[in-house]
Symmetry: D2
Subunit: 155 residues, 4 copies
Amino acid sequence: MPRFEPKNPDYRKVATATFDRQPAMRTLGISIARIEPGEVDLSMPYSLDWTQQNGFVHAGIITAGLDSACGIAAFTLMPSGSDILTVEFKTNLLAPAKGERFSFRAHVVKPGRTLTVCEARAFAETNGVESLIATMTGTLMALAPRGQDPRTHLA
Amino acid sequence: MPRFEPKNPDYRKVATATFDRQPAMRTLGISIARIEPGEVDLSMPYSLDWTQQNGFVHAGIITAGLDSACGIAAFTLMPSGSDILTVEFKTNLLAPAKGERFSFRAHVVKPGRTLTVCEARAFAETNGVESLIATMTGTLMALAPRGQDPRTHLA
Amino acid sequence: MPRFEPKNPDYRKVATATFDRQPAMRTLGISIARIEPGEVDLSMPYSLDWTQQNGFVHAGIITAGLDSACGIAAFTLMPSGSDILTVEFKTNLLAPAKGERFSFRAHVVKPGRTLTVCEARAFAETNGVESLIATMTGTLMALAPRGQDPRTHLA
Amino acid sequence: MPRFEPKNPDYRKVATATFDRQPAMRTLGISIARIEPGEVDLSMPYSLDWTQQNGFVHAGIITAGLDSACGIAAFTLMPSGSDILTVEFKTNLLAPAKGERFSFRAHVVKPGRTLTVCEARAFAETNGVESLIATMTGTLMALAPRGQDPRTHLA
């Protein structure tokens, strides 16, 4: 995995603040476990509230954790004043999402001025043992936050 | 769009019951708006609880709606006694998820004994006007529910 | 499917010329069957040269046709002087690629100044009967052709 | 990366023979550079025949190499007598495909009785220096070769 040089020396503070402004992360109980330039680990406890018909966490919720991990990982490498939006992602579900906790670990594969490509993996933890349950590849887009309506990012 | 013949005459009842056994759908306030053989529309109200840093609904939550729509659409064509798991999906986010309500509309592209491929679209509704905000292509897998551990579906 | 207004009145000429400058299309025997604003159909004859171990056309070759169809469809809506690169795509193989001819039909789902999202379908034709064999969703990026190294599109 | 135990002691011979029965690989000049249980490296020389309008190798041809690498990697872990088909894949193009040679390196992420998930990376080599140009995540399906029509794998 390549090592990256952050363009914004305050990357940790800014990325954490952006994460903290996401009500969805708070609602899901997701927190930042580790943050480095181009790398982020998130952590989420199991909750019955997010399960599908078999008691496994819903694939969309696992995707929410993977996508936020990718977004924050990409965001750590962006210049000061940027905002970020997800362009697209692809998730493979490898095993049912059952466990006491879940980790979402993302890293930047290719940083870019406009587009950044990230990969992420989701792990379930049961009795201290982790197993891989899902993968994501995602494309993120940097946006200037002021004077530009994010609705127009594809317009 | 092709028309499909359901293998299970009770498809509507069984698919609705499977949907109702998903706590995540209840938590997100998602309900079935329409269900036909191979086609499902789901509906979700906007809630600040599911938003990211700009007040748009989080891409993972939009994905949860799209994935459930695909799963139920595929499920309507499966024989009695089947269970279903998502193998993988890909989501393109076309516009920020802002609106009063969201619709997730899925249809089966290719049904199969083992694998079924679905496409879905997410729409945001504001003042009665709908706009396309996301697309999904997903692969679903049919499982026999009894005597088979779903954990082994990839094993 | 939405109707699009081309920004470049010469879109047909320019898109056709760009297609004609692709040696890979010539090598594969792929030609333009139809071109409209935001929509393109390509056609390819079967050749044993492109097959995998079962005599079906290789998934990568089917993908080449789908990707070119998406690229040209997106290109028809771009302003004069643009160049285009593929950011990413996802292909689902629905049935083995066996037939006398193959059609690749793409349309723009969401045009954009920077990014355009397209969908495409591949069909195999045997004895005048067509069947769906693959789908693609792809993201394309507009580039200014002069004074900008396409290698930097992600840099 | 996990280490895998091949089910078929002749995996190398069988996987190589399957690769050799792919006319498309011969046409593209792709050869096996390395083969281990669950891991395959393929190699392809640059040829103008496979380029798009800017002299870069066409994304579909890069995808053909990535897909074959994934298929052979998955195939090394399958029991004797299996055949294999690609269900779906997703490719991210990270940099233009220009170079003297290209490498396609795949490994199995999750082997399965029915479905196997692989990841692959494409590299371009220029003057002995390699750079990452594309990634793939793909889902492959094991098929019994006799008494089962591969056309029915999704039926």
